[in-house]
Point group: C3
Chain length 321, copies 3
């Protein structure tokens, strides 16, 4: 694997999950692999878990880390080809990506959807721009349409908690005061489709996600019905996809409660707005897996770095022949 841009870059999800779980027992066991290697974390948006867990994962691998808030510390980037750059943008992605590639061995990028123009968001200009022009591997730390480090951490978490041969997993929309991107939901769905589970998505009408991603998934508009006999309930807000980026409903009846949850495990990627997305009783109770998910972010990132380092080491070895 060269880049980790989407959950589909994983060759075998069960193998990766198993390896990640093994890493947790002795996180520094592959420390020599990252010796004299540097990862550069480029943030175009805010971050807590991703920032710290990816740094931690790199340290576990023995790598050096350079962190940069691209927006405030660097130069405004141009992504279009052929532009006459006489406006606000100072540097073209072609130069930026190629230059950063010379200073490090892996680039990790966070650049959220702006939710104004679907075509533009789906073009993933930041992530794809870096991927196109960088000469080194690129890791997606949440792009406009995907958050595969989160989804991999979620897969690890489900594997660790699951007790059934074929559990029922529900992805449930929740209300939120702001318009949020679809990245987490998209990657969760792509990940869950690779699992041996019964899967249902539930949300109010108008909140249908990108049909090319939900293809083949059961969609149930009655939340209570969807939640029946659930083993894992993943709760997440997203804005409308068809009426792109709009908040169509803030209906608090969709908030997850302990009563609705029943005996299922509760999952959320965090940050989460208490008593809007989910009531306190759920987060403070024994069925919440949110801390396990956050902790697994480190090991999801670490297994990704390990796979990239292994791949690039093989490449270097080949190059030397």
């Amino acid at each position: 694997m060269k880049n980790y841009l989407s959950i589909n870059d994983i060759d075998s999800l069960p193998n990766w999950v198993d390896e990640a779980i093994a890493l947790k027992k002795d996180p520094y066991q592959f420390k020599e692999m990252g010796k004299h290697k540097t990862i550069c974390l480029l943030f175009f948006n805010n971050s807590l878990r991703t920032r710290l867990s990816t740094q931690k994962a790199a340290m576990h691998m023995g790598m050096e880390v350079m962190v940069m808030n691209f927006g405030s510390e660097g130069w405004a980037l141009e992504y279009e080809d052929g532009t006459v750059m006489d406006q606000g943008n100072s540097e073209h992605i072609k130069e930026a990506a190629k230059v950063v590639s010379q200073y490090c061995d892996i680039i990790a990028i966070r650049a959220f959807a702006k939710l104004k123009d679907r075509t533009k968001d789906e073009a993933e200009e930041v992530l794809n721009g870096f991927t196109k022009y960088a000469s080194i591997p690129v890791v997606n730390m949440e792009s406009s349409i995907a958050h595969p480090l989160q989804a991999l951490a979620d897969a690890i978490t489900i594997t660790e908690s699951n007790t059934k041969p074929k559990p029922k997993v529900v992805l449930s929309w929740a209300p939120h005061p702001k318009a949020l991107p679809h990245a987490v939901a998209n990657s969760f769905i792509e990940m869950i489709k690779k699992q041996n589970v019964e899967f249902t998505i539930t949300h109010p009408k108008g909140y249908e996600l990108n049909p090319s991603i939900t293809k083949g998934c059961a969609i149930e508009y009655d939340q209570n019905k969807a939640l029946e006999n659930a083993d894992f309930v993943y709760v997440k807000n997203w804005s409308s996809y068809s009426d792109y980026g709009k908040v169509l409903s803030q209906d608090s009846h969709w908030m997850m409660t302990q009563a609705k949850l029943g005996s299922a495990k509760f999952m959320h990627c965090l940050p989460v707005r208490r008593n809007v997305v989910v009531e306190d009783a759920v987060l403070d109770g024994g069925q919440s897996l949110v801390l396990e998910q956050a902790n697994n972010r480190t090991f999801a990132a670490q297994i990704v770095l390990k796979k990239i380092l292994e791949h690039s080491n093989v490449f270097s070895a080949k190059g030397k022949e």
Copy 2:
């Protein structure tokens, strides 16, 4: 010691000061103690000395360091219990503290008083919130009401410079164009009360500090009288405590001058406004200890980290039995 939140968390101030002075001679001697341990420095406010000296101290101990400007790089935090989080705050301290605890071994936090609401400042929602919910040790890098790393550095500095069995120490208020917090003065007083010194506080009427902290201390409103025969003069501005957060006076007669200082040593935590708080002649003269204080910030932080690492190592060892 689990946390370092206040000067009162020190079991024996003389011992700590002696150990810190010993560290200065060979700062890397305990480098193995921090191997594979990470400290996360969370800044909710600006910092120069604290940012750099705490990083340096952690490097001396062989630790990895992650620095985060929480305000601009992370998510706005909610501290109240039971809130319906439908306003500006994206994440609850419960999740933030527990999550950060999973990525590091020690959290250090800077969160100043806002000086708008005394009750709220004294509740120390940021520091106490992290301390309550974090599962790892917390270090105070200046909170609303305390700056114990500064006070410990001050104790080291006084010990190094003192030549008398019972020196006279004066804490003198100084004018300043802005309203400043009480944290430095509070922790200095708490520290000095543990020393064998003659101690006087001097300030204009209306600038009395929290009486529960100054209890037992001599307060003298005549600055000249207070300064008589002083060996160490600690100068600092603070805003009113009774008329909370207000600037009642900017009387330049309270500025420290060489004439007033006499033969005493001059101390200040920095940053200091020249010719407002203290005249150039004092800072540029031979009696100023401000650089020694700043340098001792590294070793104050290092002895704190060492004590925490020793404590947690004992704990881990016990846990393994």
Copy 3:
């Protein structure tokens, strides 16, 4: 060499260039030299290449790195002597420089020209303030009037690409929508004057650089004439020096094109505005050296750090006698 403030701090440019080229083959060969040494990078302005390449160079030398955005993370600094600091600035350069000197072994500083007041810019208050009061070596990461790390990287790049005994080098002004500083052009000229080259500067009338820097250089106002038989063309915008900081022309005829470039190599320090400063065909073609220049920033910084560490080690050894 104690400080690296200007290209004139280099004792032998050919030797440094040769040493830098040797470092590229085995960047970690002097890793022991920086053990337990710390560099602090202080940014008063944005940076991409300088930020990452200087960090990388320090890592190659085995140093610890602390990065600080002084403007947003630290305190506003006062530079004047004797000021009554009752306005916006919280800390004097005297204290800041001396304090930072206690936490690290080398300070590197970026502080651009403000282009409002020539005398003030030429006074270099930030760089010179730190140099005057710091007790440790200072590295210039681009100041008001000089960018000697860039010029050193350019010297390495020219040496690597040059095939002639005495190549012709042209520095050509280019249009730009914003007023830019003179630092890059100044240091390039100072560097090129130390080389065995034929050198011509070309720009529209009114864009003459500081005559004390261009003294002895051929200036040709006809760009086409200047470019005849050029081997290396360094393109850069700068604002007027005589009508200080003003944009007198944005004449797009001065943009570099493949046709004008002929068979010469193209150089630019980046970031570059495509199709304003230079057309796409040049940057995307085979004659551009911009990526080599950016890559050589790492080794320019590394040879500077090596020279400083060697010098300070000799000093320490002497001090111990």
